[in-house]
């Protein structure tokens, strides 16, 4: 029995402490007392304004504008003049009834939105009359505003959180906004700020009677952090203009930092459509447009066979492995021939070609041979393919780039395993996969990866992860400062760069040449089994110390020099010189209209992934 005293003692000690504590908080300290008569306490959310998003030059991309919501607490709503309310806020009676029923179904005690995003004027009129609508009150919040429009896919849009989302993210409440796509989504935590709360006493007439307990439990809202994006908004808007009535995408990167200068997808939409009272109506229209898919970000999500620009990678891998050098020649006989296999070529040469003219003329035979030599440089095709694949992947291809964009695709770089699975172990040889030599076949790249490829060549062998935001609040992002090098040594890049320069000087992009800027590029015409070929171009400028690398895809644009190369040339000129010296070329591009191509092939001509849902 003696040993029981320990437990008795502890029980006594705890009970005594509890009772003393209860006595203190319930009887002595009256700071917790509530004025519990007819006054009700209302909790008012103070929305934190989301951070502003600037472009790299300090131009405002996304700002805020005030708006007002009318909320109702169903069990406090008393008989009211519904016609008058509808007239004041400008909605249909039917709509009001539906909203009130919805609110009742959600909760009788918690506020639900009845009319959202009223204008300042409606708010002013309603405010004076609010006393006659018991159970209703007004809540201020901020909406997004896009002063210049454009870049809708980059900045993204905000949407109201769904009930399912709240379940997984308890820090949100009904009617809160969150970033649904773009920067708004990937930088949600920085942008959203911290909500505040205010407790007010209201009397039976629904009038505010001052703050509860002198505001002791109120917290202020902390605005979200401002962001500086890496985008050049002016260039972005110009690029969107150039892509009008064409489908495809443009990505440009600053090679020395990995900052994304522009990220265009076409067709796109005006971000201001997704703000305000008509938001859900407009959203439905955009979402249901299964033909043009304006909400689908082609620059990040579409995957294309890259076509000829990929020849550059094969040349680099060949140089690194020693199967190719700048003096080695191949002679084209209207294509590449191996047994019954035949890859056509329209380079128009019949003399031995070296690497630099091979790039300038985009000779299919030259690069099929280069690829064959790479694969055959190892005892078995498997080993050869794996060495090739490993080098190609070091260019950031076939993998997610781990950047700060909320969505993306890996693309596809096949390896020996891939072909073993497709053809059976050793059921294939170098020539079975020869179309990889000219960027066709199983290979898939996203436009972002292609632009990054341009940046790698511009840098002569390294890249920084392409990213979209430069500073959050006052701090510069440091997570993208790591330099990533390829498996190809820098010295092998010079001949390839010279080849790309010759593309403008004497090759396939002669027509887009401009005297004042030494540009480097590579045209591409990606075969499209579903319709006209895609027009592809990757480029950078100036040749030495490059400031911009760019990739362009114009779907069903026939061939590279027809649409993609002139657009790239114009954009680089505009970025480097701030002016355009070729107005008639600019006019031709802006007015160029490919919509007949898309109509003809209505649903057959999408890129491989474009049929899938976004995100």
């Amino acid at each position: 029995m003696k040993k029981a005293y320990l437990l008795f003692g502890l029980i006594g000690f705890v009970s005594f402490s509890l009772i003393v504590r209860l006595f203190y908080i319930q009887i002595i300290d009256d700071s917790y007392k509530l004025n519990a008569d007819s006054n009700a306490i209302r909790k008012i959310k103070l929305y934190a304004p989301r951070g502003t998003i600037f472009d790299r030059e300090g131009r405002v991309m996304v700002a805020n504008q005030p708006a007002y919501d009318l909320l109702a607490i169903p069990n406090q709503v008393q008989a009211f003049d519904s016609i008058k309310l509808c007239a004041l806020v400008g909605i249909e009676l039917k709509e009001l009834r539906r909203k009130l029923n919805e609110a009742r179904a959600y909760s009788r005690y918690k506020p639900s939105p009845v009319v959202q995003q009223m204008s300042q004027r409606d708010f002013g009129r309603l405010g004076e009359q609010l006393y006659s609508f018991k159970g209703f009150y007004i809540q201020k919040r901020t909406l997004r505003r896009y002063p210049e429009g454009g870049a809708a896919n980059v900045v993204g849009f905000v949407g109201e959180v769904t009930d399912a989302y709240i379940k997984n993210h308890p820090e949100y409440e009904r009617a809160d906004l969150h970033g649904a796509t773009g920067i708004e989504k990937s930088y949600e935590e920085a942008l959203r700020g911290v909500k505040g709360v205010r407790y007010v006493l209201v009397d039976v007439h629904n009038r505010e009677k001052g703050s509860f307990r002198g505001g002791a439990y109120d917290t202020t809202a902390v605005p979200g952090s401002n962001l500086v994006a890496t985008i050049d908004l002016e260039l972005q808007l110009y690029a969107e203009q150039l892509m009008k009535n064409k489908r495809g995408s443009i990505v440009a990167i600053e090679p020395s930092t990995g900052e994304i200068l522009l990220l265009v997808t076409s067709p796109t939409f005006d971000p201001n459509l997704l703000v305000g009272r008509d938001r859900s109506k407009n959203y439905r229209i955009l979402e249901n447009d299964s033909f043009a898919k304006p909400l689908y970000d082609r620059a990040l999500l579409a995957e294309y066979p890259p076509g000829s620009p990929f020849k550059l990678v094969n040349a680099l891998v060949g140089l690194q492995l020693g199967t190719l050098d700048t003096l080695k020649t191949y002679t084209c006989h209207h294509g590449f021939h191996a047994g019954s296999l035949h890859v056509a070529c329209h380079c128009g040469t019949s003399y031995p070609l070296r690497l630099i003219p091979g790039i300038a003329k985009s000779c299919n035979n030259f690069f099929c041979s280069t690829f064959r030599d790479i694969i055959q440089s190892r005892p078995t095709s498997q080993e050869g393919m794996d060495v090739w694949s490993q080098h190609v992947k070091s260019f950031g291809l076939g993998q997610f780039l781990q950047n700060d964009l909320p969505t993306g695709r890996k693309g596809l770089v096949p390896d020996a395993d891939y072909y073993d699975r497709a053809f059976g172990y050793k059921g294939w040889r170098a020539v079975s996969t020869i179309s990889l030599g000219i960027g066709q076949g199983e290979l898939l790249l996203t436009p972002l990866q292609m632009a990054n490829l341009g940046a790698i060549i511009a840098n002569r062998g390294f890249y920084y992860t392409p990213h979209i935001v430069r500073t959050v609040g006052d701090t510069a992002q440091s997570r993208f400062e790591r330099k990533r090098t390829t498996l190809v040594e820098p010295r092998h890049f010079e001949p390839v760069v010279e080849g790309m320069h010759q593309v403008f000087e004497a090759g396939t992009a002669r027509g887009s040449r401009i005297e004042s800027i030494p540009m480097c590029g590579k045209t591409g015409t990606a075969e499209n089994p579903h319709g006209q070929d895609h027009s592809i171009f990757i480029a950078f400028a100036p040749k030495d110390n490059p400031k911009i690398a760019i990739s362009i895809i114009v779907e069903n644009g026939y061939w590279g020099s027809r649409w993609a190369a002139p657009i790239a040339s114009l954009l680089m000129e505009r970025y480097l010189h701030d002016s355009i010296s070729r107005p008639e070329m600019e006019k031709r591009m802006i007015e160029g209209d490919l919509s007949s191509e898309y109509r003809l092939n209505s649903d057959r001509d999408k890129p491989r992934a474009a049929g899938e849902a976004e995100q």
């Binding site: 029995m1 029981a4 006594g12 504590r21 319930q26 009887i27 700071s31 007392k33 509530l34």
Partner: protein
């Protein structure tokens, strides 16, 4: 004296009455906490109070079942029960569903079962069996040596090992309760005293500047050494304790900053007044104290609590159920609940002491200690005396698993107690 008809005459009606009082008070508090005008019937099954009624009816079935079972059966089956429950507990890590961040539940349609709530009585049974030994006579306890210490530790720590990764720190902490029955059965007292000293030092190291703390410890040591100067080994013992205490205060800083998770660290910091955050981590505690404090002497009356009604306090029907009592029944009601729990605990210990079999005594001690830990931690947390550790208030909180787990725990002891007259 063997007389099976008199089972009901031998039941301890005082503790049974307290049990039903607590269950009933819990039920109406849940009603008040989640009260909803649209579903004002207290039996409405779409609401928590309606479902709690179902759980109470389920408990009645369990009670009848336990009372009509032969008391010896629990002793015989203690190890199998423990093994089965342990398997269920292990299984939940694999097949369980995640509810608010912890994988502690088996989900069957709309109902879910939390095996850790049933592990407590199973562990108590197994520990009692182990400490009682085979065929040991009452009264010969002190002559026998303790059974294998490693086995005892294993029985208590295995459930902890399965509960921690769920993760459910609260439920795992409860197993510290088994130190009391161990102490009662001969574990040296210094184990518990040093544990209490360690907790005390832990808190002191966090709030007091370390030089003051070391000075204080040294002063205390010298004082004690002078008081016990005639004892032979006091000098050695005291220096050992002094060295260990200093070491502990040094390691606390490291453990606190490096080993604890952020949320636990934050809760402790807020409690110690080192950090303030009324709308973030400290929100629960702050709102809970406001609710209780606003109750005043006599409370605001049934269903009149504004803090409760406006959903200011989170987890109102489970871990923070005591807020409703505090707000609506005031100081009077709160003290009544504290007194009811205290009476029940003391009663159980007294009953345990009068047992003739070691098994029943150890089990009784386990029951009292587990309930004590729950009540102490839960109530201290709601009034802001302890950090927020999510464990339910026994018999009171909403939830089938917790109610049934505690009912099994408690009534098996009532049954064992009723059977004591039949042990000669």
């Amino acid at each position: 004296m063997r007389d099976n008809r008199s089972i009901f005459a031998n039941l301890d009606w005082i503790s049974i009455l307290i049990y039903f009082l607590l269950v009933f008070l819990g039920w109406i508090s849940i009603y008040a906490a989640v009260y909803n005008e649209d579903h004002s019937r207290i039996t409405d099954l779409s609401q928590e109070y309606g479902r709690q009624l179902l759980f109470i009816l389920g408990s009645l079935i369990l009670i009848v079942f336990i009372l009509f079972t032969d008391g010896r059966l629990f002793e015989k089956l203690s190890i199998p029960i423990y093994v089965v429950m342990l398997a269920l507990l292990a299984g939940v890590l694999v097949a369980g569903s995640k509810i608010s961040g912890a994988r502690s539940w088996y989900q069957f349609g709309s109902f879910s079962l939390q095996p850790s709530e049933f592990m407590k009585f199973a562990t108590a049974l197994a520990l009692s069996k182990l400490l009682a030994g085979d065929g040991r006579e009452a009264g010969t306890r002190s002559k026998k040596r303790m059974p294998n210490k490693a086995l005892i530790a294993l029985i208590i720590l295995l459930p902890v090992a399965f509960i921690l990764p769920q993760p459910d720190l609260g439920s795992a902490l409860v197993y510290a309760a088994f130190l009391f029955p161990l102490h009662r059965e001969g574990m040296p007292a210094w184990v518990i005293y040093s544990l209490i000293w360690a907790v005390f030092l832990f808190i002191l190291s966090l709030i007091v500047d370390q030089w003051w703390l070391w000075g204080g410890l040294t002063g205390l040591g010298i004082l004690l050494a002078w008081i016990f100067r005639k004892e032979r080994h006091s000098w050695w013992v005291l220096s050992a304790i002094w060295v260990l205490s200093i070491g502990m205060s040094l390691s606390v800083d490291y453990a606190f900053n490096n080993l604890l998770e952020d949320r636990h660290r934050n809760r402790i910091n807020i409690l110690l007044g080192k950090a303030e955050d009324p709308s973030g981590i400290g929100y629960n505690t702050n709102q809970s104290i406001i609710a209780i404090g606003s109750g005043g002497f006599a409370g605001k009356g049934f269903l009149e609590g504004t803090q409760t009604k406006f959903d200011f306090v989170p987890e109102q029907s489970t871990d923070f159920i005591f807020c409703t009592v505090g707000e609506e029944w005031g100081f009077v009601g709160s003290v009544l609940v504290v007194v009811l729990f205290t009476t029940l605990l003391v009663r159980i210990i007294l009953l345990a002491e009068r047992q003739r079999s070691a098994f029943s005594r150890v089990y009784g001690y386990s029951v009292a200690s587990i309930l004590f830990l729950h009540v102490a931690v839960n109530l201290s947390m709601t009034v802001g005396l302890a950090p927020v550790i999510g464990i339910p208030l026994p018999f009171f909180s909403y939830g089938g698993s917790s109610l049934w787990g505690f009912t099994l725990l408690f009534f098996i002891f009532i049954r064992l107690d009723a059977y004591r007259m039949q042990i000669l």
